[in-house]
């Protein structure tokens, strides 16, 4: 018996040992793979910053526009790749945002200048200075990255150690990699404070100015709650009214309610004037009884009732038993796309279950719609000859350079796909082309 136990134990030991060894090997393999991934990303990053530096240096020396555009395009592409490389590194625990902002700002600058026709509008003196500063900043980052790279290679540092330390919660100290990156980040912060990429270069997608100019008396928490209930269209009990925090672009109240059937709803409403910014009612509608068309009429009436004037439906879609509509301001015969809102309607009761109007308030202004320089027929000539135009209208859209421009909007198809194309009504330039998506086959 004893012999048997000994033998069994021995076998067990061997099995465990083999199992352990296999596990260890597998872990090693995975660690190696992860490490290679990190190493690849890191060395790519260093290389890309190298090339950004070289290419901006060349661009500074260039006189011919024919060369400048490709050089700027190249830098733009590289900033995007460098960005991608950073996102693959295990640096989530440490602030690396300044460096990323630097890459973002450089990308924006080079994109804007690269897509522009430099023959008609060459680099301004100021832009040339910006390019110079970009060159200098790239040099500094490059130097620091190289020194980190040197120590990584010299001391055989492993990114997986950094990742593991980060995963276990303690921020790794006395680590050359981390120190090096902290150094870079510090320098990048210094750049961003030097007024090189001013607001004119790196604009937020939409400015908050119009939002700040909204007029009206300041409302109380109680008034905010009353107003919110009017929008919800459900008999609800108010659970909380909270003020926004300091970083909000405009002070607002957040009103939260619970309806009689337990449906949660919440709304942001401006303190000044009580304008609705956004709201949703979390209710799953039962089987649809009203059509998408009737629902859009109800949504339209809802907007009119709450002071959104001259809005027309520009998009509609059904998701199960909910209709989602985009409404856009129409001034005479021109659609003003920047002033759009989205409305959700339940298709069982026809009740409004959501409104998103933040961009509308940010872009709302009195607009003088200029007379177009081109006729519609002239603008149409700018389209690809294989396209068949199905619908057309005049529209104001925000272009790549964040300017609102008057365009002719054409809905067109070429037999395989449909497109929405905006042709500048003065210059004939294709400001925007959107391929319109068709429904996706359901795999569910």
């Amino acid at each position: 018996m004893r012999r048997f136990i000994t033998a069994a134990m021995a076998v067990l030991l061997v099995v465990t040992a083999i199992w352990g060894l296999t596990q260890y090997r597998q872990k090693q393999v995975l660690m190696m793979e992860a490490e290679s991934g990190y190493q690849q990303a890191f060395h790519e990053l260093v290389y890309q910053v190298d090339v950004i530096h070289d290419r901006t240096g060349e661009a500074l020396a260039m006189n011919s526009k024919a060369n400048l555009t490709p050089a700027l395009t190249d830098v733009w592409r590289l900033t995007s790749e460098a960005h991608n490389a950073i996102s693959r590194l295990p640096l989530g625990f440490m602030p690396f945002s300044k460096t990323e902002e630097f890459l973002g700002a450089s990308g924006d600058f080079t994109y804007k200048t690269a897509v522009r026709d430099l023959d008609t509008e060459p680099l301004s003196e100021k832009e040339y200075e910006q390019l110079e500063s970009l060159y200098k900043q790239a040099a500094d980052i490059q130097k620091d990255l190289r020194s980190v790279q040197m120590s990584v290679l010299d001391q055989n540092l492993r990114w997986t150690d950094v990742a593991q330390a980060a995963a276990s919660g303690d921020e790794p100290k006395d680590n050359t990699v981390i120190d090096g990156f902290n150094q870079i980040e510090k320098k990048a912060s210094e750049f961003s404070e030097a007024d090189i990429f001013q607001a004119s270069q790196v604009e937020k997608s939409v400015s908050d100015d119009a939002l700040k100019k909204l007029k009206g008396p300041v409302i109380t928490k109680k008034e905010a709650a009353e107003r919110a209930k009017e929008y919800f269209q459900i008999d609800a009990e108010v659970t909380s009214v909270e003020s926004s925090l300091k970083g909000a672009s405009i002070p607002f109240y957040n009103v939260a309610v619970v309806g009689q059937n337990g449906e949660e709803a919440s709304m942001d409403i401006t303190k000044k004037g009580g304008y609705p910014l956004t709201f949703t009612v979390n209710r799953t509608p039962g089987k649809g009884r009203i059509s998408l068309f009737d629902a859009s009429e109800k949504a339209s009436a809802f907007l009119k009732k709450h002071g959104f004037e001259d809005m027309v439906v520009t998009n509609s879609a059904q998701y199960d038993h909910t209709g989602v509509f985009t409404f856009t301001k129409k001034v005479k015969d021109t659609l003003v796309y920047p002033e759009s809102v989205t409305v959700k309607t339940a298709l069982d009761t026809g009740g409004i279950t959501g409104l998103e109007a933040q961009n509308y308030w940010k872009n709302k202004k009195d607009r003088d719609i200029p007379e177009p320089g081109l006729t519609e027929a002239e603008a149409k000539k700018e389209l690809h000859p294989k396209l068949t135009v199905m619908e057309s209208t005049k529209a104001i859209v925000t272009n790549d350079e964040m300017k609102d421009v008057l365009c002719y909007e054409f809905l067109a198809e070429n037999g395989t796909a449909s497109y929405r194309i905006f042709i500048n009504a003065d210059s004939g330039k294709e400001e925007r082309i959107d391929k319109l998506t068709e429904a996706e086959a359901s795999y569910g």
Binding site: L91, G104, E264, L277, N282, S291, Q318, E356, S442
Partner: protein
Amino acid sequence: MKWKKQIAVLLTITFLLAAKQAGAFSEQVVQRGAEGDDVIELQSRLQYTGYYRDPIDGVFGWSTYWALRNFQESFGLPVDGLAGGATKRKLEQASKYDEAHVKSQIRKGKAFTYYGGAETSAQSVNTPEGFSQNDIQLMANAVYGEARGEPYEGQVAVAAVILNRVASETFPNTASGVIFEPGAFTAVADGQIWLTPNETAKKAVLDAVNGWDPTGEALYYFNPDTATSKWIWSRPQIKKIGQHIFCE
């Protein structure tokens, strides 16, 4: 007088038949973006008359819209792209519709050519411009892993932060890039992202991709009770929803 009677009977029969046929379309006006039985019938009838050449998938998309407008133009109807009363009557006169056959084919997910050539696929679904069902699924996983105990608004908010990051120049440019950025989301680090999301999380994601942003363009959020990073406190704070503070 006998022939008059015969005509009356004939007319009655015709009317009855017409009424029976017309009974399939509901009384609703069908517009672009709609889904369901009326759309299946609309596509089938447009296909029968030769105006629609794409699969019958039950979603009123752009190709259905153009087909309907072309039909309206050829038949002297007002060209508005809406299938209202007059348009539906004209369609019923101009085409045949075997509801049982079409639906059984769609259920089977079979390609079939009964309606004049084009193949029919299984049912499709609407997805917001620029997003696939997989994008939405992945985001629902992230939202569920990060915020399943939060109020509905807080779940929409987490999805909105992911989208704000995609749009921001300081983050990767895809939803998957943002979600899997190492260290960005705790749900990714501890594997909770692989829990099966519920309907609420999916709804919250759909709201966010349709444009809802309860955060006021926030890029970060944190739980003030458990946050370990000092740096996160330096960001300008916009709003608190449930356990999370959202910041720029």
